[in-house]
């Protein structure tokens, strides 16, 4: 195509030059003819003055001269015409070739001597130019399309980058030489490097020696050509050990050769902690369930074997079996209620209840337990109006759990105090259980209502499942739209409590 255009340019230049030469030759012939004619007229005027025989001789030579000049002019014209025709014919051939007419050589030099052939040539040139214009227009459109595609591609690339950068998990891409190709902000934070200034640097240099196992894992995955590999990797982050689920996939080129590796690191520290808490829970629950069961089994075996000699001992054994069976039942209820509240399957029977009366009922139960540990339990002062619209059984469980927890973590000689206060302005009742127990460290206080959570420092103080306080929170907040709270000081004691909306005076009589 370019060659054809080049040829047509050259041919055009030749035609132009020939045209100019032809104009000069014609002008020269006309000028010569006019000069000879003028000379011939001047000689004619001389004959009139006496040269009688000179006239015919002079005219014949002038005519001959003119004839020679004209003949030469005609020859020159013919010669130029042929050259012009040859140039035009070659142009026509070039156009034809450019249009793809391989076998067609186009008009001949002789053919171009006819006007019809020149007209045909004009048509060819016209078609050629039209074709060129159409092609140019097509190419312009193609260029526009390409520009749009480039813009779209750039936009897509930016979107992909934005997605990768916004992923909370750390994403790292390395090339076949284990050098960094791309990393998102999360990866930069995790490995402590600037993602924008670290491209093409070896990964092992970027992430530090203490984390070299990660770089080795990526390198190994690349060499082994595994499509995807997974491993849990532990890193120290600001002094805290964190576990990451690392998924590594190889990137393949068109020839199915590994040209890089993509690694995604998902922080599973919390999941691990929950898993550990669940394991601990199973262990604790197992212990808590087996302990009353052990008493029931042992005492019933003693009864069957006749080890209880008298009626009083037999009654004592039966009483222990009964109490331990109730303990077992309460524990199972705690576990089931937690599960039911979480799944929303629990049946709630709300009624108007006086909190003062409800607390007094539960205090009777807890006092015998407290007396065993020589702990003083102080009840509340009477309150005029503290009615709440609650599920009586559930709220009893909340009060028992808070009181038994306070007694459990208070040493002999200490005290536990329960109080209620009515806030008329906020229209709520506040119940607080204050103990003089071991207290809770500041860094653990935010977790005490978490499921299965047990304060590390106090685990040895008493047994437990880590469900009691969680159940309190679930019952108060999820079922009764209330709020739980806690304050504590290690070695001084803790204050646990909850707030519930006060029932209106127009409500039904107290149940």
């Amino acid at each position: 195509m370019l060659i054809a255009v080049e040829r047509s340019k050259k041919a055009g230049v030749v035609v132009l030059k020939l045209g100019r030469s032809l104009y000069a030759i014609v002008a020269l012939i006309v000028a010569c003819t006019l000069l000879i004619g003028t000379l011939a007229e001047g000689q004619d005027s001389g004959t009139e003055e006496g040269w009688y025989f000179a006239g015919p001789v002079q005219r014949a030579s002038v005519a001959l001269g003119c004839g020679v000049v004209v003949a030469m002019g005609v020859i020159w014209l013919g010669w130029y015409w042929f050259r012009l025709a040859g140039a035009v014919a070659s142009i026509a051939r070039l156009f034809k070739e450019d249009q793809g007419h391989e076998g067609d050589t186009g008009p001949s030099v002789l053919g171009l001597l006819k006007l019809t052939e020149i007209d045909a040539l004009r048509k060819v040139v016209g078609e050629y130019l039209e074709g060129r214009a159409a092609r140019a227009s097509e190419q312009t459109n193609q260029i526009k399309d390409l520009r749009i595609q480039i813009q779209l591609s750039q936009k897509r690339e930016k979107n992909t980058e934005a997605i990768i950068y916004s992923i909370r998990d750390a994403v790292i891409v390395i090339d076949e030489y284990d050098k960094l190709l791309m990393a998102n902000e999360a990866a930069g934070r995790l490995f402590d490097f600037d993602v924008r200034r670290s491209q093409h640097r070896p990964l092992s240099e970027l992430i530090g020696r203490d984390r070299s196992q990660f770089a080795e894992f990526l390198s190994h995955s690349r060499k082994s050509r595994n499509q995807a590999t997974r491993r849990e990797i532990e890193f120290s982050e600001q002094g805290e050990r964190r576990v990451h689920d690392c998924i590594v996939s190889c990137v393949y080129d068109q020839n199915q050769q590994v040209c890089g590796v993509v690694a995604v690191l998902h922080d599973i520290t919390r999941e691990k902690q929950i898993q550990q808490m669940k394991n601990d829970f199973v262990s604790h629950v197992s212990h808590e369930l087996k302990t009353p069961l052990a008493s029931i089994t042992a005492y019933s075996e003693m009864l069957v074997d006749g080890e209880a000699d008298d009626e009083s001992t037999r009654r004592e054994f039966c009483s222990v079996i009964q109490n331990q069976a109730q303990r077992l039942n309460r524990l199972i209820e705690d576990i089931l209620n937690t599960s039911r509240i979480e799944s929303g399957l629990i049946k709630v029977n709300k009624e108007l209840v006086s909190l003062t009366m409800l607390i007094e009922e539960q205090l009777q139960m807890i006092r015998s337990y407290a007396e065993e540990k020589s702990i003083q339990v102080v009840g509340q002062k009477p309150i005029v109006f503290d009615r709440v619209y609650v599920d009586r059984d559930m709220m009893s469980q909340v009060i028992v759990n808070l009181l038994s927890n306070a007694v459990k973590y208070t040493s002999s000689g200490g005290s536990v105090k329960i109080e209620t206060a009515v806030d008329e302005v906020a229209s709520l009742v506040r119940v607080t259980v204050v103990d003089t127990g071991v207290g809770i460290p500041e860094d653990e206080i935010g977790h005490v209502f978490d499921k299965f959570y047990r304060v590390g420092a106090n685990k040895k103080q008493a047994k437990g499942t880590g469900l009691g306080l969680n159940l309190v929170k679930e019952i108060v907040e999820k079922v009764h739209d209330g709020r739980v709270f806690v304050t504590s000081q290690v070695g001084v004691g803790s204050t646990f409590g909850f707030e519930l909306p006060l029932a209106t005076r127009e409500s039904a009589p107290i149940a």
């Binding site: 262990s283 212990h287 069961l293 003693m302 040895k460």
Partner: protein
């Protein structure tokens, strides 16, 4: 076995009570403690012939108690029976290292516990006679 003294260590008062009745009914002298620290004090002071201890207890666990016992000359060889309510058994290696004579899972049979104690003391007696 009337002259044999058994130390029972458990924070569950009912378990201590039932084990004590069973052993006393079979001629043993029983002393008790409700946590590992108290149990250690009693073991050093009273030098029982055998110790029955719970695994999970406040203040000091059963395992910690056995470790302390093994560090003391007077209780180094005192046989120990461990009661456990945990969902997993104490590894055999750990039992061997601490020379725990027997492990019983809760809920346990007082008869079985008695049988265990008698067997251990009988073997101890045989070794002493040799």
């Amino acid at each position: 076995m009337a002259d044999k003294k058994v130390l029972v260590v458990d924070d569950e008062i009912h378990i201590v009570h039932v084990v004590a009745i069973k052993l006393r009914n079979n001629g043993f002298e029983v002393i008790s403690a409700d946590n590992g620290a108290e149990g250690l004090k009693l073991a050093l002071a009273e030098k029982p012939d055998i110790i029955v201890t719970d695994y999970q207890m406040p203040v000091m666990t059963g395992l910690e108690l056995v470790e302390k016992l093994r560090q003391n000359e007077s209780t180094r060889d005192t046989p120990v029976v461990m009661l456990t309510a945990r969902s997993f058994a104490i590894p055999q290696q750990q039992q061997d290292d601490l020379r725990i004579s027997g492990c019983l899972s809760k809920p346990f049979s007082p008869k079985e516990l008695l049988g265990n104690i008698e067997d251990i003391l009988y073997q101890k007696q045989l070794i002493a006679d040799d």
